[in-house]
Assembly symmetry: C2
Homo-oligomer: 314 residues x 2
């Protein structure tokens, strides 16, 4: 981030017609955004929403309430404009693009070895990296992939330790939840590499790797990122495991209802902007959170100062 | 609310291309909004933001970090477009109007008797009621009034009992906080009426009564209301004390950083949409929460059903 722009934004914030700190987190958000964009009085006019889709070999283990065909069906729904993320992207004034990654070639079942080869994970990561529009001023990454809450749970378990990372996903019953937990344990046993990118390849999926690539690519363009829920945060966690500053350009858009999301956010030191019980993925919670960040920046850049307005500063 | 529209919205919600319940609270919000508007597939196109301003005799007791002149200065700032609520109203596509209520004639110091006479409170209530645009499809009420966190704390103490309702407001120090607590206790001792409207007159202010009038008036037009923070919720509490169903057309927009707001929301059974540490008033938190409700309705009314999209329903 640009220290001059950040300091300029902080100075401006102190002069705006409100009691100090009265806009709470909106003030911090605006200053953070200003720093990354290198402008003390920025605007958000070009958000981008990237949705990546992938299929998971681990679905053969009965870890989802939906059949794997739903991934490709939902990609068609994204392209036709019928999904939640289409509505929320439009509402946020964001350009949305969908990238389906080799849907007819699912990743390998990670209980038998790595989900992806090094070449496969690199290709998916590069797809995400290059999908970022250098002219965007904000990025949301979302996903679709039947089975990917199991993948995300396995990533968290491998990088953060402990158990209980599996959750209900799209709505599995108790038996399904037990299968997910068992599959996660088997995946960890079958894949000993505990580096961030090693775990991404072994336990992730193509859409997870693409999100990690997009998050990293956005940073190269100084584009702030709003993270979505459980799967997106797991992708971000792989970057964090490699470099503790890798997510400094990110905020957590929302707290997912997927049970272990809070634990994952705690590990990353991230405090979500929204907590509305969403557990859809697609980037939906983060796309809604664009509105919070836009509101923060609108106040910061649009408000009058005490001097401009002739208001006593208390 | 219209049970047919609500049931139609609930039925539609069950057919949308997402796992059941995956949009969490957004689903409940859309169905609630549909019921109040009498349309199973509504849109939000005409939000209204009403900001009421009033002056408080109790400021003579040193309860605010800002001088009372700031009320009229901030009204000028609202009219010039320089305040936070201007930016957030514009961002929400809302029509904003400011009503300054007899600023040169503060209410009486409520530690000496009622803040307002019956005629005064009725006039302020009517100002709020008639300010509501019958063509609006959503209402936010906000306020400005140096000293009004003390008034709101006194209302809460009178109607809900207990102590500790006073908070930091715009930023008083420990001595100021102690003065606020003492003033609240004196106000309760001086004004024995514990009916909702009696408390509104005795311990409220003109802007507080106007907000109560606007909230009640919106209901007559079946216009849903997003409540703002501590002061607005205190106004709503006076209605609730008269009729436990009086706020069924309202949601809580946000949790204020003003300490006792959570207790007040708990008493009303309201769960805030946002929790971002705002404590500005003006309607700012509720205006930002318009975006959440708009997002909920955009998903509900814009998404494809499983049948339309050819997606397997799991």
């Amino acid at each position: 981030p640009d220290a001059t722009a950040r300091d300029g934004a902080s100075d401006r914030n102190g002069q705006l017609t409100k009691p100090p700190g009265a806009l709470g987190r909106l003030e911090d958000l605006a200053i953070w955004y200003a720093g990354w964009r290198g402008e003390a009085r920025p605007r958000i006019t070009a958000p981008q929403v990237l949705v990546f889709a992938g299929n998971h070999g681990v679905t053969a283990r009965g870890v989802s309430a939906f059949p794997a065909e739903v991934t490709v069906q939902m990609v068609a729904n994204f392209k036709a404009g019928g999904a939640a993320i289409n509505q929320l992207s439009d509402f946020a004034g964001a350009k949305m693009a969908v990238h389906a990654l080799d849907l007819d070639r699912p990743t390998a079942d990670f209980t038998q070895g790595p989900a992806m080869s090094e070449a496969e994970v690199c290709a998916a990561f590069a797809t995400g990296w290059t999908a970022v529009d250098a002219e965007a001023d904000l990025l949301v990454t979302g996903e679709m992939g039947i089975g990917n809450t199991t993948s995300a749970a396995a990533i968290a378990a491998a990088l953060l330790g402990g158990t209980g990372w599996a959750g209900r996903g799209t709505g599995v019953d108790d038996a399904g939840l037990a299968r997910k937990e068992a599959v996660v344990a088997e995946g960890l046993a079958a894949n000993p590499d505990r580096s961030g990118l090693g775990v991404l390849a072994a336990l992730g999926g193509r859409e997870v790797a693409a999100m990690a690539g997009a998050i990293a690519g956005a940073r190269a363009h100084r584009i702030p990122v709003i993270l979505d829920g459980f799967i997106c945060t797991a992708a971000a966690l792989c970057l964090f495991a490699e470099d503790k500053t890798a997510l400094d350009h990110c905020v957590a858009g929302h707290l997912s209802a997927e049970g272990a999301h809070q634990r994952m956010l705690n590990a990353l030191g991230l405090d979500p902007l929204l907590s509305l019980g969403l557990r859809l993925g697609e980037g939906s919670g983060a796309a809604l959170a664009i509105q919070v960040l836009k509101g923060a920046v609108a106040c910061h850049s649009g408000m009058a100062t005490f001097a401009e307005a002739g208001v006593a500063a208390g």
